[in-house]
Amino acid sequence: MAKITVTVNGTEQVMDIEPSLLLVELLREKLRLTGTHVGCDTSQCGACTVLIDGSAVKSCTVLAVQADGAEITTVEGLAKDGELHPIQRAFSAEHALQCGFCTPGLMITAIDLLERKGAPTDADIRHAIKGNLCRCTGYHNIVSAIRSAATEMRGATTPMKVGAEVKR
């Protein structure tokens, strides 16, 4: 067993865990944050994407022990004080989700992109979300949603940062 401290969606968690526990298992099974999904076993689908210290990563390919000391943001942590993040609003407004299974991972990847590139082209967006598979939407409206969230985030007067800054 290993003792770790992680901050998940702003709440510090101290836990004793098996080293073999994956971060996604910690989130889903120990913390019951089931908005982060598992869609494959080979790091392809991106349904498990979360932010670790501000970067989008596949939580199925990270040991929970590796996240010791990190700040983690999951889909449950996107809305602040009940107000949806612009990417959440845009996904709904643009009908960028159907079954909703891939949606949390896609929104998280999109946030990573938009935090670093305020005005991405459609090609940038499509390239950035290559690691998130969606079988329902054909991506058309997802691209529109990310584009529209980018516009909103650029115009935002308050910073829309999610999670912590990347530690350098």
Partner: protein, 785 residues
């Protein structure tokens, strides 16, 4: 073309009611359900595609820490057999048990279930189960499976032939005798893996004599029915819940082995049980789609008039027949091949074959993409043969608008259609006329550019129950709805459909809102729980939900509306004919200031002290709608591609589509269905294929190998529509869930072949991968040397 009549909510781009929970991550999928005392199942699956099971030794597994029990086929016979809902004439059915006990028939066939306190312990112990197999000869190819001497999968049948299914009309011999031009094509409509993003999952608990099962399914009522019958439980004691379901595409249109098994284990162990497949398991043990080999021949005149179509098909059903498998290559394929065209003679024969592969059943489109691919590739080949423009050839053979209702040569009656305008619009969107200039410009850059189209007619709205019965479908094709208006005016709609991304909570609310005159915001749509919904729901598949389930909602809402009018008229002391229901109010025409609020009417219905004479109290309605006919959406899609001859890489430059699904309830949702459908069709055309080796091992067994399209693989889509209302139902709606998949595959392949036709290339088997395209170009170059 007709126009939809105006309505308040139908036709609006209403944001989805489903979204708030899904974008917050609070939607509950089956694997998110965790119950106290729950145990977990890991299945031991056969590594062999065909083997006799000599002995199963689970002693070591049973000793592993945390293991509760290990169950084999012999222990689990109480689950009964897996159901098959369709019987075609002369069918050789297979006995399919959730756990194979004597023989494994495909790599992935489940042999034993390990139950443990944790998922990890179950998985670890599953590796400790030792099975002594005697490998048997394997056959994976359907055509080879039908040859003499092929290994037989089901010895009691003595053959691998599942069925021979003919559909004929007109004089096919005369058609070919009179032909001035004929074309022949050999088509491999390759096997696909559905890849719904949510893996399948089942949770079951048995408490106080009541079985509750959460399952990632498209058909909770069928699961409930079969669990009740097979496990010997009274149906009222079996509750099946389809919570959030993460995509289905036909792959969750089953009563699966795991559903029976997990329910059985919960019942016998008395503890809640969970099983969730991993993706590798999904590739092996969740159904696959397509896998047909077709030989198509077309007889025509030199002016392009089609005289007849002959087609011989071999369908690979896999190792066992799954629930709807017998109906896919037959009913949903053979009958629809004539498509949008007037074809005077038709001769189709489909043979089904068992092979040592994962069972094949419905995958988005299910039979109709295969049919459309066959006819639309044949149209292009014919156009090439007689030197006619492919669009003109299609136009020439279209069923003309004045011919409806039109009975096709395969015997199906299209109630309505107007194919020319959709073709014209799609061609205009695609700038079809300006294409040759773009081809020349690409050539100057060293690229081959091509344009391709496909015109389709889809058969949706499955299905009139009598037609079902005549075709061998062992259940009605109706759908149910129940609307409950509470005393305060709160409205709940319960539907028998079981959405998994289609947005029924939104669309059904729009339909009900228009009928009962309240806002969709004030209507809650509930689904996927057999304890709430009407007695039977059929489910969501075959683009049927709107044209059948949506109409059931409409009809139930009309009943509510009638009663609201009656009560309103009574309270307002007016004639029902003069009463208007609008904006949450009921009033006499022209006197809106003296309105009764909807809530006052509903309260009156339950106070029951002041109702019209003889009226029952309450405000509730249940309907079952059985459609009088199928519906027939149609459209034309145009793809434009560029091929890099050096690497064989294909880029879709432009994609234009004009579809006609009748009235659109929520255009935003319609477009979303098309985008996703088109992408899956592109996947088949260019990227996806399930590959087995000769030993029956699935080589494309993970997302590392099987190419599910990514955002970078598909273009944006330009969509337009025409609106031709069907007369079959009161809303004029037809269905749109599968149209994109049906239309896009041939459009894209036709575009690639068009790009390469200057090189003399006539055909490349799907998927048109880089290497296949490069090899074809190279061979064409050698041939011309």
């Amino acid at each position: 073309m007709t126009t939809a009549t105006p309505s308040t909510y139908i036709g609006a781009r209403t944001p989805r009611k489903e979204d708030p929970r899904l974008i917050r991550g609070s939607g509950v999928f089956t694997d998110d359900v965790t119950l106290p005392g729950m145990v977990y199942v890991s299945l031991v699956r056969s590594p062999h595609a065909h083997a006799r099971i000599r002995r199963i030794d689970a002693a070591a597994a049973r000793k592993e820490p945390g293991v509760v029990t290990v169950v084999t086929g012999k222990d689990a016979e109480a689950t009964g057999v897996l159901p098959v809902f369709i019987t075609v004439p002369g069918m050789n059915g297979s006995k399919h048990m959730p756990l194979a006990s004597d023989r494994a028939r495909y790599a992935g066939d489940a042999i034993a279930a390990v139950v443990a306190d944790t998922h990890k312990a179950a998985k670890r112990a599953a590796d400790m189960v030792t099975i002594d197999y005697e490998p048997l000869p394997v056959v994976v190819d359907a055509t080879k499976a039908l040859e003499p001497g092929a290994p037989i999968l089901h010895e009691e049948l003595g053959t691998n032939l599942v069925f021979t299914y003919p559909v004929k009309g007109g004089d096919i011999d005369k058609a070919f005798r009179d032909a001035e031009a004929t074309v022949k094509l050999h088509i491999v409509n390759q096997r696909l893996i559905p890849n719904a993003m949510e893996p399948r999952s089942v949770v079951a608990k048995f408490e106080a004599g009541e079985l509750t099962v959460w399952s990632s399914t498209q058909i909770p009522h069928f699961v409930q029915l079969i669990l009740s019958v097979n496990l010997g439980l009274s149906q009222n004691k079996v509750r099946v819940i389809a919570p959030e379901v993460g995509g289905g595409f036909g792959s969750k249109l089953q009563v699966y082995a795991e559903e029976l098994l997990i329910a059985h284990l919960a019942k016998t162990l008395g503890r809640p049980v969970k099983w969730t497949e991993d993706r590798r398991e999904a590739y092996l043990a969740t159904i696959h789609g397509r896998d047909l080999v077709e030989d198509v021949e077309v007889a025509a005149k030199r002016d392009g008039t089609i005289l007849g179509v002959r087609i011989r098909t071999v369908a690979n059903v896999g190792a066992y027949l799954q629930a709807f498998a017998p109906g896919i290559p037959t009913i949903l394929h053979a009958f629809i091949i004539p498509g949008a065209y007037r074809i005077p003679a038709f001769d189709c024969e489909v043979r089904g074959a068992y092979t040592n592969t994962t069972p094949v059943d419905a995958y988005r489109g299910a039979g109709r993409p295969e049919a459309t691919f066959a006819i639309e590739r044949a149209m292009d080949r014919l156009a090439d043969e007689i030197g006619m423009d492919p669009a003109e050839l299609r136009r020439k053979n279209f069923v003309p608008p004045d011919a409806f209702p039109f009975t096709t040569i395969s015997g199906i009656t299209y109630d309505s259609g107007d194919y020319g305008p959709a073709l014209d619009r799609a061609l205009a969107m695609a700038d079809y006329k300006g294409f040759e200039k773009r081809r020349a410009e690409a050539k100057a850059r060293g690229k081959h550019r091509g344009i391709g189209l496909s015109s389709y007619v889809e058969i949706c709205g499955l299905a009139p129950s009598k037609a079902n019965s005549a075709l061998g479908v062992g259940w009605g094709g109706y759908e149910s709805a129940r609307i409950r208006v509470h005393p305060t005016g709160a409205v709940q709609v319960f539907t028998g459909t079981s959405p998994h991304g289609q947005g029924h909570e939104t669309s059904w609310a729009q339909i009900a809102a228009d009928a009962i005159g309240v806002s969709p915001d004030d209507i809650e749509v509930r689904h996927g729980d057999t304890f709430e919904s009407p007695g039977m729901g059929v489910g969501t598949f075959g683009s049927r939900s709107l044209a059948v389930g949506g109409i059931a909602v409409h009809n139930a809402a009309q009943k509510i509306r009638e009663k609201v009018i009656q009560i309103g008229a009574h309270l307002l002391e007016a004639s029902p004919a003069d009463v208007v229901v609008e904006g949450g109010k009921v009033f006499v025409k022209g006197v809106p200031e003296k309105a009764k609020a909807f809530g006052e009417i509903s309260m009156a219905a339950y106070l029951a002290s002041n109702l019209p004479d003889g009226m029952e109290p309450g405000l509730e309605a249940t309907t079952y709608y059985d459609p009088p006919n199928f519906t027939f959406p149609f459209g034309t899609h145009v793809a434009e591609v560029e091929v890099d001859p050096e690497t064989g890489t294909i880029e879709i430059i432009r994609y234009s589509a004009c579809d006609d699904c009748g009235r659109q309830i929520n255009p935003m949702i319609v477009e979303g269905q098309l985008h996703g459908g088109i992408t899956q069709g592109i996947g088949q055309a260019l990227y996806e294929t399930a590959v087995y080796d000769a030993n029956g091992q699935l080589l494309s067994g993970s997302m590392m190998e099987y190419h599910v399209p990514t955002a970078a693989d598909v273009p944006p889509f330009a969509l337009d529509h025409t609106v031709t209302l069907t007369k079959t139902n009161p809303l004029g709606v037809k269905g749109i869930g599968e149209a994109g998949t049906i239309a896009s595959t041939p459009a894209v392949v036709n575009a690639v072949i068009d790009a390469l036709s200057p090189l003399g290339i006539k055909h490349i088997d799907m998927p048109l991968t880089a290497e296949k395209v490069w090899q074809a170009i190279r061979k064409a170059g050698e041939a011309r040397r």
